[in-house]
């Protein structure tokens, strides 16, 4: 029943033995200790569990890890380089893009997928893209400010 899968997680190749029912979010959090990725709604709606699979933002709470065998996975832990925060992480600090923080890793990963595809989005494009990442503190204006700032700093 267990299967061996190969993933590249934040650039590092991993060979893992999992049951098919093991969800990617649980593999990251419990098998690999990458607890930056959060689980919120468990049905793909809230965005807290957002990670990148081959550069695309997906919901890790409804993705069995076997589905992404052979893929590149990027989590919030993979953004900082040489101790320097990613411009999005820095912008969320500078512009107060979080309150309680539980949605923040998902917000930042979704925003990263946006800026990788569209480095200078309009405000309307940011709002439409980020619509699927809920903030239970409702701090949406600061999240928007943070992403706009990061998009500017990456210019």
């Amino acid at each position: 029943m267990e299967q061996t899968i190969r993933l590249r997680i934040n650039g590092e190749p991993k060979e893992l033995t999992v049951r098919p029912r093991r969800l990617l979010v649980d593999l990251l959090r419990y098998d690999l200790g990458l607890t930056g990725t959060k689980e919120g709604c468990s049905v793909g709606v809230c965005g807290a569990c957002t990670v990148l699979v081959n550069g695309k933002n997906i919901a890790s709470c409804i993705t069995p890890a076997v589905f992404v065998d052979g893929c590149d996975i990027t989590t919030i832990e993979g953004l900082a380089e040489d101790g320097r925060l990613h411009p999005l992480q820095q912008a969320f600090i500078d512009y107060g893009g979080f309150q309680c923080g539980i949605c923040t890793p998902g917000q930042i990963m979704a925003a990263k997928a946006l800026l990788d595809e569209n480095p200078h989005p309009t405000e309307a494009e940011i709002k439409e893209w980020m619509m699927g990442n809920l903030c239970r503190c409702t701090g949406y204006y600061k999240i928007l400010d943070s992403i706009k700032a990061a998009a500017g700093s990456e210019a």
Binding site: A59, T63, M131, G132
Partner: protein
Amino acid sequence: MIDFDYRAPTSLDEALALLQQHGESARVVAGGTALVIMMKQRLVQPELLVSLRRVPELDAIRADNGTLRLGATATHRAVETHPVVRERWPLLAETFHHVATVRIRNMATVGGSLAHGDPNQDPPPALIALDARARLRSATGEREVPVRELFLDYYETDVRPGEVLTEVLVPTPPPGAGWAWVKFLPRTADDYATVSVACLLTREPGTQRCRDVRLALGSAGTTPVRAEAAEAALRGEDLTPARLREAAQLVADAVDPIADFRGSSEYKREMAVVWARRALEQALARAAA
């Protein structure tokens, strides 16, 4: 989620053989956005998932002699962003763009959405308005079914055990056709529609007369609904505002909406009429004179 076996064959033939061998204890999966949630909720408990994720070429999107061919494992996002779809099938690009969120559109596939048979989904009415066909393959043969005949009942489709929906074929709309796709979303932008309407409309050149029209609705019953009486009331007739209003009124008898937290059946029936009229007006405005 209970335990299941998982196979990800690298050819369609291998996938079909597995399905034939395991019968109804196996389920086909691609993006998983629908099936995995149903498994987590224990609404379905397959013993084996046969994944199409490693079958090469099954996610291809291409135009071929005027027919758009959407591979079953093409994601919603791939359809929405494809330059040929945007240019020549704008009704589809618009529809797929408004499904759920980017995150879900990166996962959910064309074939999965159809095979799921959820009457709240957005692509089926658009594909019905475009007269699309679904191609189904099994270990023993292949057949084509018009998308309008694919949906039998609530979450029930004509995809038989052992069959895989491999491709959706969408003809080019007639020259000068106007289109519309509208989705009534009173709650949140990523919600299922309270009602959605797709419309494709052609005028007789140089006249106000309707040559042909197709009108289909989502979230309006246990399956997607084609509003045939409304269509018949318009074909060959002058497309005046009053005529569009009268035709839209006929949608009330075509739909049988399910009451839920988005509204009562009566409310949704009223909204189906309102949004059908808006779709007809938009399609007419886009149709060549």
